[in-house]
Symmetry: C2
Subunit: 161 residues, 2 copies
């Protein structure tokens, strides 16, 4: 039976746990633990939301001016994190991808076409259905992405006047 529920601020594992998981990952791939990588992870942990690399870059520049992290590093680290499954991305038309920490439970997105707000939800029955469909078509399912577009309550109100 499918219940669908809304996820507001999704509870996370502790930062320590997350960090040591990251370190472990790096170690087992002969990669190095750098200040930049830590700050990127930390920033994603600390700010709930879906960020473009550029936004993340600005945020980090603002909060860690002394670090002087380049945007190339943001891109490289996001790819790394995504490749390791620690971060997930969601892509809108031409304007690039947005990233969020992937340690939450899997969920889908509903996006306001007026203000860009993103809410998250999860629906068991949709998840199940998707797996059935993939199987029926002979696909080995790896991932999926469901986005609903519409106008959020606030924007509906503000367009009344």
């Amino acid at each position: 039976m499918g219940h669908s529920k809304t996820l507001e601020t999704t509870p996370l594992i502790s930062y320590e746990t997350l960090l040591s998981h990251f370190k472990q990952l790096l170690r087992s791939n002969n990669l190095k633990f750098t200040k930049q990588r830590e700050v990127i992870l930390y920033t994603l942990y600390n700010h709930n939301g879906h960020f473009t690399p550029e936004e993340l870059y600005q945020l980090i520049k603002q909060e860690n001016p002394e670090l002087n992290a380049g945007i190339a590093t943001i891109y490289r680290t996001l790819s790394l994190l995504e490749g390791e499954g620690m971060v997930t991305s969601i892509s809108f038309g031409t304007q690039g991808k947005r990233y969020e920490l992937g340690i939450k439970a899997h969920h889908d997105h509903i996006i306001c076409t007026k203000c860009g707000k993103i809410l998250e939800f999860f629906d068991e029955s949709i998840e199940k259905k998707q797996e059935q469909i993939a199987k029926k078509l002979g696909f080995k399912m790896e991932d999926h992405s469901l986005k609903i577009f519409g106008v959020c309550p606030e924007c509906q109100k503000s367009s009344d006047k």
Copy 2:
């Protein structure tokens, strides 16, 4: 109760009907009916599939060498058609959007992450669920997009060896 079915080559309305619909749209917006616009519509009608602007550009160049249609026009026309709801787009990470004629019944996509193949499917119960979710969150739903990613049967085979 939701049946989910696969759509192979989806039946279309006649080209005449489509064309006159397009002309009407243009007229009512004080836009002009040009050879380029017709050829773009016609090419989308005639070839089933999901095209990047570049692919469409090449295809048109090949089939209508005398027209000398520029890629800027392809972009402009695809935006126009999408804005009017005659064409829909589907976007993958960084590699841009793919467009298809939007006169088919609504459907979703399953995409092979190895070869890029796109299949279409439709599932009633998922559609319904989405509407319920939007309503519950107070959104006025406008659109949605569901993509399943996985490895298609052919690619599963070829990676066996």
